[in-house]
């Protein structure tokens, strides 16, 4: 399948929007660097979702357009604005929150996700070294882990695979995968297609997925 071009699915912004819809009102959410950061722009203020950044902020509303303050950034170094009731704390307290199970959901980027929900997202073998940040702690500590990523690599290789080839972030940690082509749940029975992107068929999703997908008899199209 890697010889064909994959179908054009959601833009990065629409992946972020769809991932935002996974968040329960009132929940505490950590957003990974990159695409997940965009999610902050797509939540309804009325839902009172509170964003935590591992560098020690609880309660930022999104990327700031104001003057840059080097001491007021998210974990990706971007300037943020605060909501009323926001608080600051040190890294030890931040990971008490994360590792201790006090974060309702994390949305992270992914390099690969396996059939049993293993995540690989911190180490590209060709580059070595790696950058892990808080990803491993979030993967074991967040109550619900949502991966937001492109369905296939730039080279057209599936990122959803039988077994991750890239080094793992954590085993059996992913709950749901939101891509440009689909929303897929990790269930005890296996990966289950929940929704397809507009104009994408279940068969196309399956064709660009590197491991068997459970496909219910009726798979709705995302409403965006």
């Amino acid at each position: 399948m890697a010889s064909d071009r994959p179908p054009t699915g959601l833009s990065r912004e629409l992946i972020a929007l769809r991932a935002a819809r996974e968040l329960e009102p009132g929940s505490i959410v950590n957003l990974g660097i990159g695409l997940p950061t965009l999610v902050a722009g797509f939540v309804e203020p009325a839902d009172h979702i509170l964003f935590q950044a591992e560098n020690g902020i609880l309660g930022y509303s999104g990327i700031s357009e104001s003057d840059f303050d080097s001491d007021l950034i998210n974990a990706g170094g971007q300037p943020v604005d605060l909501v009323p009731g926001a608080s600051f704390f040190d890294t030890a307290d931040s990971f008490t929150m994360i590792r201790g199970g006090h974060i309702d959901a994390a949305i992270l980027g992914g390099l690969q996700v396996s059939a049993r929900g293993d995540l690989a997202n911190w180490y590209v073998p060709a580059r070595g070294g790696g950058s892990v940040g808080g990803a491993m702690d979030l993967a074991v500590g967040a109550r619900r882990l949502i991966i937001a990523m492109a369905h296939v690599t730039r080279e057209g290789e599936p990122r959803i695979v039988d077994v991750c080839e890239y080094p793992l972030t954590a085993e059996c940690c992913v709950d749901v995968i939101v891509t440009d082509l689909a929303v897929i749940d990790v269930t005890v029975g296996g990966l289950t297609l929940r929704e397809t992107a507009p104009g994408i068929s279940a068969e196309e999703v399956a064709a660009w997925t590197g491991t068997p997908l459970l496909i219910p008899s009726s798979v709705p199209e995302m409403s965006l």
Partner: protein, 230 residues
């Protein structure tokens, strides 16, 4: 408990030994002791091990690679997934001229905390089943498996706060806390740069996040503007 007020950042870091392990506070641009890092570049110590959240993300720690001062880095962000912009450290790491120990952020802070708090190690699930567990002991407690991570301490810590008083008490602003308060507990010599030095009592007891007993040297300097643009 006596804190030494240094006239310049160079005076504050000058006697750090070649081969020392230095803890460097800050998180990308927030609470980063850039003046102390640049001073260390000028005082020129080599063979250093730097423990920091990140290197090469708009921080100035990467500057120490210009004259190959860093032999080893212990960090959470070091090598970027995409190769569009490369740091000096990345180049030296690839050339085998500098070592890297990558550590999950929550484990790094907890190892430093254990080092400062007299605890024997950290028992965490983070990293189990991954490369991070290679060569490390796991311990079973009541049927659950935990990874044992070692405490971490520095010969010196370079930290940054907003205000310091003449007893060394430190107050941080906004997200400037991050690694700084814990690193202040975990090094033999703690050196803090602050924007302003005030009299004892001017920082209220509730505003002090690092009590002065942890701080050995204080230097007042204008913050160096740093920013990461991804």
């Amino acid at each position: 408990m006596t804190v030494e007020i240094c006239d310049t950042p160079e005076a504050a870091v000058g006697d750090i030994a070649n081969g020392a392990t230095i803890l460097v506070g800050g998180f990308v641009s927030a609470g980063t002791p850039s003046n102390l890092i640049l001073a260390l570049k000028r005082t020129g110590q080599t063979g250093l091990t730097a423990v920091a959240n990140n290197i090469g993300l708009g921080d100035l720690l990467d500057e120490l690679c210009e004259n190959r001062q860093l032999a080893r880095v212990i960090a959470t962000f070091a090598i970027r997934a995409s190769g569009t912009r490369s740091s000096r450290f990345e180049a030296q790491y690839r050339a085998g001229e500098a070592e890297l120990e990558l550590v999950p952020q929550g484990t790094l802070i907890e190892r430093l905390r254990a080092g400062g708090a007299g605890l024997g190690g950290v028992l965490t699930r983070t990293g189990l089943g991954t490369m991070m567990a290679d060569g490390k002991e796991t311990i079973e407690i009541d049927g659950e498996r935990w990874l044992l991570e070692r405490p971490l301490r520095g010969d010196a810590a370079l930290i940054r706060a907003w205000r310091g008083d003449r007893q060394g008490n430190l107050q941080y602003r906004l997200a400037g806390l991050n690694f700084n308060p814990v690193m202040a507990t975990a090094a033999d010599v703690v050196i803090a740069e602050v924007e302003e030095i005030v009299e004892a009592g001017e920082i209220l007891p509730e505003q002090i996040a690092t009590p002065g007993i942890y701080v050995d040297r204080l230097v007042q300097c204008e913050p160096v503007p740093v920013r990461w643009d991804g």
